[in-house]
Symmetry: C2
Subunit: 377 residues, 2 copies
Amino acid sequence: MKKSFLREAFFIFYHIALFEFFVVYPKIKILAYLCHMQLKNDLLLRAAKGEPVERTPVWLMRQAGRILPEYRAVRDSVSGFIELAQTPDLAAEVTIQPVDILGVDAAIIFSDILVIPEAMGLPYEMVEKRGPYFPNTIQSERDLKKLKIANGSHDLKYVIDAILITKRALNGRVPLIGFAGAPWTIFAYMIEGSGSKTFSKARAMLYTHPKLSHQLLQMITESTINYLKAQINAGVNLVQIFDSWAGILPPNHYDEFSLRYISQICDAITEVPKTVFAKGAFFAREKMGALNCETIGLDWNMGIAESRNMIGPNKTLQGNLDPAALYGNANEVEAATIAMLDQFKGTRHIANLGHGVYPDIDPEMVKVFVNTVKNYR
Amino acid sequence: MKKSFLREAFFIFYHIALFEFFVVYPKIKILAYLCHMQLKNDLLLRAAKGEPVERTPVWLMRQAGRILPEYRAVRDSVSGFIELAQTPDLAAEVTIQPVDILGVDAAIIFSDILVIPEAMGLPYEMVEKRGPYFPNTIQSERDLKKLKIANGSHDLKYVIDAILITKRALNGRVPLIGFAGAPWTIFAYMIEGSGSKTFSKARAMLYTHPKLSHQLLQMITESTINYLKAQINAGVNLVQIFDSWAGILPPNHYDEFSLRYISQICDAITEVPKTVFAKGAFFAREKMGALNCETIGLDWNMGIAESRNMIGPNKTLQGNLDPAALYGNANEVEAATIAMLDQFKGTRHIANLGHGVYPDIDPEMVKVFVNTVKNYR
């Protein structure tokens, strides 16, 4: 009886092992292959990591936006920006458009940095020609209690779905960039309730309620880490952190209320290369050189040689043509692009503008910019 | 007959000489004394020139503004900002208010940088809560032909009258600061037609029409020199040039389209000390050290030690407390002010905020700022 039981057990184990080896394991391999599919163009990732590249990769901040008639057509088919961002099929479509039309070396998922406050419990509206508006803002400890730390894959499922669809449709042509706002920039909107020239309410909060400020910034940071991890699980190949309102803080506040949290995010994300773009934070360049990230974005005010000197040789720099340079004619755009490339030559570089492309730029001039980078040696 | 004629001529000449010496000359002396009246408090001027001072002088950008209920009362008595600026008695009244109420070491004439485009033939309106608006803008050579170079004392008589009234009423208590916008900033409004986050139309003009841009900038520069000279003739003791939109130009464009014209103004004004405040032009600090001016204003993003290092020891630095620091309580404002003063200690300094005081700041906190500077040794 005992012997027969052992034989039975061995027999079952043997068949399970056979099944695992010949059926399950190959499926896992295929799945893994599909997930981490070999990219046909991985210039962006190699440039970010400082590996050799045949030429400088190029993409544009806000490339999936109002410059393209094809984008405007899709957007006009829905009620507005927010519905577009929340409809995965359409978000995927406008994400891929610039890859097809402009020939850029990366797609960036079409979304908004303000999805995080919404996922934390603070919804926003997008007012035509005025920008984002939050009906409720955070002013006190009590307001803070109404918020939760966002769970990336559940609370922001529509972004994750858009990433899955985009990855499938891109079929490995170029890398897909994921992104989030930096905690300070998200905080600024959550306190201020809208865009602002000075964000004086948000800045006042740092002076009058530093403890509350740190609590909220920590909650945003954890939500952002969850969100970026979910994006990475869905297949993004690189993440960028946008600190759009970096430049309105004095240097000591920037260290305390922004860089500290960006640093937490950089340390938490280990799966893909990370880019940090802190617009206007010229005073923080030296400290950004010490962040645990691969790439630092430069705005068009930041001198290239000076920035390289401050940031050091161990980061890729991204940028930084003046977006207004694209108002020139083809010869002028080409000349300005080459002048920029010359300054980065021989160093780790990803070509881009120093800020988002302006909505009234002629797409043909964007193509001149992209092609000039691609033809540059 | 000939002898009698000579005697007659001598007699007339003798009496004219007597009259000149005893009647005209003393009157000129008295007038000159009244005009260049000894200031009771000339700390600002000595600090600007790098002469010894007993303590650091202090004033605030936008001190004659919305923070004071007394200002709002005067403003509510007229149709709006523009009428207030164009009514010399009232402009003088609100110019002096902060001297009486806040105890600052200087008055700054209540006016607007946009009086220059108006005097050149491009009028503007001030739209409540939206800012300035120009019904017409400059887009072409033809538009340029409609403009003239402003004559300071004639085309801007209301400002000159306000200065004369203010000087009389101040009675030498503190210096009076005159001002104008920097040519680039004025240009930006004349092209764009209103305030803007990016001034992308104005920046496009630099790329697409550099020659036209230089022509307009030169006309603005000459108008500004005329205007500042007229202000100085009317009695202002120091002039400040505001380049509010310096920070949106890339460094090479800033050199070519802004600093070049500021430099012309600095060279042309030799009568009084000059202050240049170029907000956001962190990249231009080294070159600003070479300007023919006495004082450079720093915004709150600019590190003090770093700026001193870049600008050199031969300029007075003005600034640069974060305007949002005044949202704190009295202890916090005092501490922040002292921390700022400590960093400037032992160097040429005029205390101020890093930008204009925000309109919702409690005037009591402004007094704490002012008194902290005055009590600091």
